[in-house]
Symmetry: C2
Subunit: 173 residues, 2 copies
């Protein structure tokens, strides 16, 4: 132990940099594979139980949080996806009667997308089941560990938003 600390004090900067790089990479690979596993599990369950895809579910989740409705451009930013895709997903959901486009009185180029009553009802059911799945998938952590992780992720994310917002459509949450 002490040996290690002493070594740590005397190694040169380049070595420490390499170690940091390796640690970051390890963290990233673990984070990525864990996320993919959970995402796949949830995606499969959503399809099997509710015949819905993840982006469609996400769009509805955004609308649930904004009962006043969101414009297409808002949805695009929040879902980190370009505009054309939002049109497509919204089209599908509208066909199924789950969301509706409400024309904006002030700006006739724009729409507000809202959940229909049927959409709100359907989403409530799905969201509740979805939430219990997530709880199940994270049952490997206790409450303390979860809040720790939430804090760590927030640090990463705020650092990202501050420095790399240019890359795509961020401004998330």
């Amino acid at each position: 132990m002490r040996q290690h600390e002493i070594a740590n004090d005397t190694i040169d900067l380049e070595t420490r940099l390499t170690q940091d790089h390796h640690q970051s990479l390890k963290l990233w690979l673990r984070m990525l594979s864990t996320t993919v596993m959970i995402e796949n599990e949830i995606r499969n369950r959503l399809r099997a139980e509710f015949d819905i895809t993840l982006p469609r579910f996400d769009l509805m989740a955004q609308l649930e949080r904004h009962p006043e409705g969101l414009r297409m451009g808002e949805l695009s930013k929040r879902m980190m996806v370009t505009g054309g895709n939002i049109t497509g997903i919204t089209d599908q959901l509208e066909q199924e009667g789950l969301v509706m486009r409400v024309t904006d009185k002030q700006d006739r180029r724009a729409y507000s997308v809202k959940l229909t009553p049927a959409g709100r009802k359907a989403f409530k059911t799905m969201a509740s089941v979805h939430e219990s799945w997530v709880a199940e998938l994270f049952s490997g952590l206790d409450a303390e560990q979860k809040s720790q992780m939430i804090g760590l992720l927030s640090s990463v994310k705020s650092d990202l938003s501050a420095n790399f917002s240019a890359s795509k459509h961020n401004e998330h949450e």
Copy 2:
């Protein structure tokens, strides 16, 4: 503080369950959006700098770790993707001269996929730059926080592998 603890002791089980659900959901949403942001950033940089996609890069990364070569089925498991896709990605990389299929002497149905010398060289360059990007993107955490997070993710992941390996092609790492 004390008030909070007392309250925590006396609230009923259902309430605590709901709180846990919300916390898990919050954790998952934060983890997902953070991962997506980093993934997008890396994907864009890989395309811009090296004209390579993430799956192609990942396949090469797998081979780099296994100089003796990997069979198509192995790659399929490790990349959490079905077999047909591995054929496609391998075809592309083979065309570009980055990997090669080596027929197995013992089992003439099977191949070992390996990096070519050119592939190994190209990957070394990319991997080193990639690693520094990752370090940059995680610079919001210090070494201590990173190792904390690695530990937390390991708990989640091992719990997942133990309970949900059926969902797709896991057995990762």
